[in-house]
């Protein structure tokens, strides 16, 4: 029973990181219908930014984390302006390829600056382990889940209550109508990319504390899994991304614990395929049929 609980909690730990990253995919997709393949590399950049700040300055962890998030936000918005905005009216596949180009670019720039060798991530978080009966929860796990949940609540409030949040929902509903209503499309889209990048950066720091090895290609796998999480929950839907992230994390952790580590990826992809075949629009998605 304890093993099961431990696996579940581990699952929630990774799952909450996936959920944060998945939110970036889903928000961008919801607004411009673009699968942003460079999103995973924002994670990597975020991890390197935090690594640099922590190893070469004496900044406390919190400030270093905030600064690396800001760095990723700027990067996210910049990439959108330079690489995606000019392609907004081109075939969607062109922008998809551009995101792949940006992904290569980020990986190779980092590789040139820092070399391809993985570096250890210095964890400077001293949180006590929580003990409930015979169950031990690592403090890190607790903090990770807490941060993720708080961010999700904050994001939900932002999207429901603020002007910018409402603009985002309007643009994702109908871009042209939103424009006619006087919403600044460009700002809204850039903002969406920036928020996605911020969440990815937080995810990166949380991910790096769990798997403390930083390398130029480290973003690929969590990126891919978070993307699947977004599709699983229903791409374009924020609650879907959160749900998908948690499901992915738990499924992965249970497979590792009970079946085999090697097959955990197969299970993840298997779930994806089954969900797509049974309900293509994802767990929370609505079915939309084409008008003839």
């Amino acid at each position: 029973m304890n093993i099961l609980l431990t696996q579940l909690i581990n699952g929630l730990h990774v799952g909450s990181v996936y959920a944060l990253i998945a939110l970036g995919y889903t928000m961008v997709y919801g607004i411009v219908k673009l699968i942003n393949f460079a999103h995973g590399d924002i994670i990597m950049v975020g991890a390197y930014a935090a690594l640099m700040l922590l190893t070469s300055t004496a900044l406390p962890f919190g400030i270093a984390a905030v600064l690396s998030v800001l760095f990723c936000v700027t990067l996210g918005a910049l990439v959108e302006r330079i690489a995606y905005k000019p392609l907004r009216n081109s075939p969607r596949i062109s922008s998809l390829i551009t995101t792949i180009g940006v992904s290569f670019f980020l990986q190779n720039s980092v590789q040139m600056i820092f070399s391809p060798t993985p570096r250890p991530f210095p964890i400077r978080l001293n949180v006590p382990t929580i003990v409930i009966g015979s169950l031990k929860i690592s403090g890190l796990t607790f903090v990770t889940i807490l941060v993720a949940v708080l961010l999700m609540i904050a994001l939900e409030l932002f999207v429901r209550r603020t002007r910018m949040g409402k603009a985002m929902r309007a643009v994702s509903e109908d871009m042209q109508a939103a424009q006619l209503m006087g919403i600044n499309i460009n700002t809204t889209i850039s903002m969406t990319f920036a928020i996605g990048a911020a969440l990815a950066a937080v995810g990166a720091i949380l991910y790096s504390t769990a798997y403390p090895s930083v390398s130029p290609t480290m973003g690929a796998l969590p990126g891919l899994k978070a993307f699947i999480a977004a599709v699983l929950g229903g791409i374009g839907l924020m609650p879907g991304a959160m749900l998908g992230g948690f499901i992915m994390g738990v499924a992965e952790s249970l497979t590792k614990g009970y079946i085999s580590t090697q097959l955990s990826d197969a299970v993840v992809f298997g779930i994806l395929i089954i969900v797509l075949l049974v309900k293509p629009s994802g767990i929370l998605g609505k079915h939309v049929s084409e008008k003839v």
């Binding site: 792949i100 180009g101 690929a220």
Partner: protein, 329 residues
């Protein structure tokens, strides 16, 4: 066949023969080193991969992100034939078996997957592609993650060249038959296609299966070039590599896919002198290419000597017309 198309065929055939001679003679005479030979074989294999993916992405208009998996299935099937069956003509047979094994995988994946469209289809092909790779990784007969060794290294430049000519010609003629037209009509408008009597499900699966078949042949060539196979070579990144070639060449254009496959195989090598910067330049080139030519090098058009002549004449004529306009005003 009318006179214009016959002229175009003859001209292109002559050009092809000249190109073949210029290409194959130095290699036969042994004047080219092993490094270049390896590069050429890789480029030729990539041509088959890019043109076959073009059947799904370009002609059918569906985004597929698992094409490398079919290459993997073909590679392993062909390798097993070569290793375990010592019969005459075993190489062409091995390639054919590779193609058929990949085609069967294509049907198995295509039947459920092609009920989806757009991005969902892209994602499910990604999922299937990775699952195929993981399954290959866990099959003892394939050597799993420890690699399959001892495959005869018999893919040479002429062999790969002939395979490319045969595969590309077949894809070209298929594209210009009733089947090719039916597949194109689905890309253009699925509702109109089914309302014009085109059995769309059948043709989606056909396009997908044919693409898998040719990818399987490319996989067989690859296996007999490398001599060693590892499932992780056929991952998502590799699928993306081929997708980039198709998009860069112009979706729907076979010649575009060929040119892009050659350029993208050679470019990183040509930039080798720039050492660390080469992948950076490659990625920048990719981004700039998309920004300035979002429809790819050739769009959906095909490169042909006759059409170059024609467009040259057209430019000259329009230049003359412009001149006339100026003199009138």
């Amino acid at each position: 066949m009318n006179a214009a198309t016959r002229k175009s065929w003859i001209l292109n055939a002559i050009a092809l023969a000249a190109l073949s001679a210029a290409f194959l003679l130095p290699i036969q005479s042994g004047a080219v080193n092993a490094y270049i030979v390896g590069l050429l074989i890789t480029a030729l294999i990539n041509i088959i991969m890019a043109t076959s993916l073009n059947l799904v992405c370009g002609l059918l208009g569906y985004l597929a992100l698992g094409h490398a998996a079919f290459m993997g299935v073909g590679a392993y099937a062909a390798a097993l034939v070569s290793i375990h069956w010592n019969v005459p003509l075993s190489f062409p047979l091995a390639l054919l078996v590779g193609g058929i094994a990949a085609a069967i995988t294509g049907v198995v994946i295509g039947v459920p997957a092609l009920r989806l469209r757009g991005d969902y289809l892209a994602i499910i092909t990604l999922g299937f592609g990775e699952i195929v790779r993981i399954i290959m990784n866990n099959m003892p007969i394939l050597g799993g993650a420890r690699s399959l060794r001892g495959i005869p290294r018999i893919t040479t430049v002429p062999v790969a060249y002939v395979a490319v000519i045969i595969c590309v010609t077949l894809m070209f003629t298929l594209g210009r038959s009733r089947h090719g037209r039916a597949i194109l009509s689905i890309r253009e408008d699925e509702v109109a296609a089914t309302s014009s009597g085109v059995p769309v499900t059948y043709y989606k699966i056909l396009a997908f299966t044919l693409a898998a078949f040719f990818a399987g042949i490319a996989g067989g060539l690859y296996a007999h070039y490398m001599g060693v196979l590892n499932p992780n070579r056929f991952n998502f990144d590799r699928s993306i590599e081929y997708l980039v070639m198709v998009v860069l060449g112009g979706m729907g254009s076979i010649t575009g896919a060929i040119i892009a496959a050659i350029v993208l195989t050679l470019l990183p090598e040509l930039l080798r002198g720039l050492s660390n910067y080469r992948m950076l330049i490659y990625s920048l080139a990719l981004i700039l290419m998309m920004l300035f030519r979002p429809d790819g090098l050739l769009g959906t058009a095909e490169f042909s000597l006759v059409s170059i002549g024609r467009s040259f004449k057209r430019t000259r004529r329009s230049a003359q017309n412009e001149g006339r306009d100026h003199s009138e005003s």
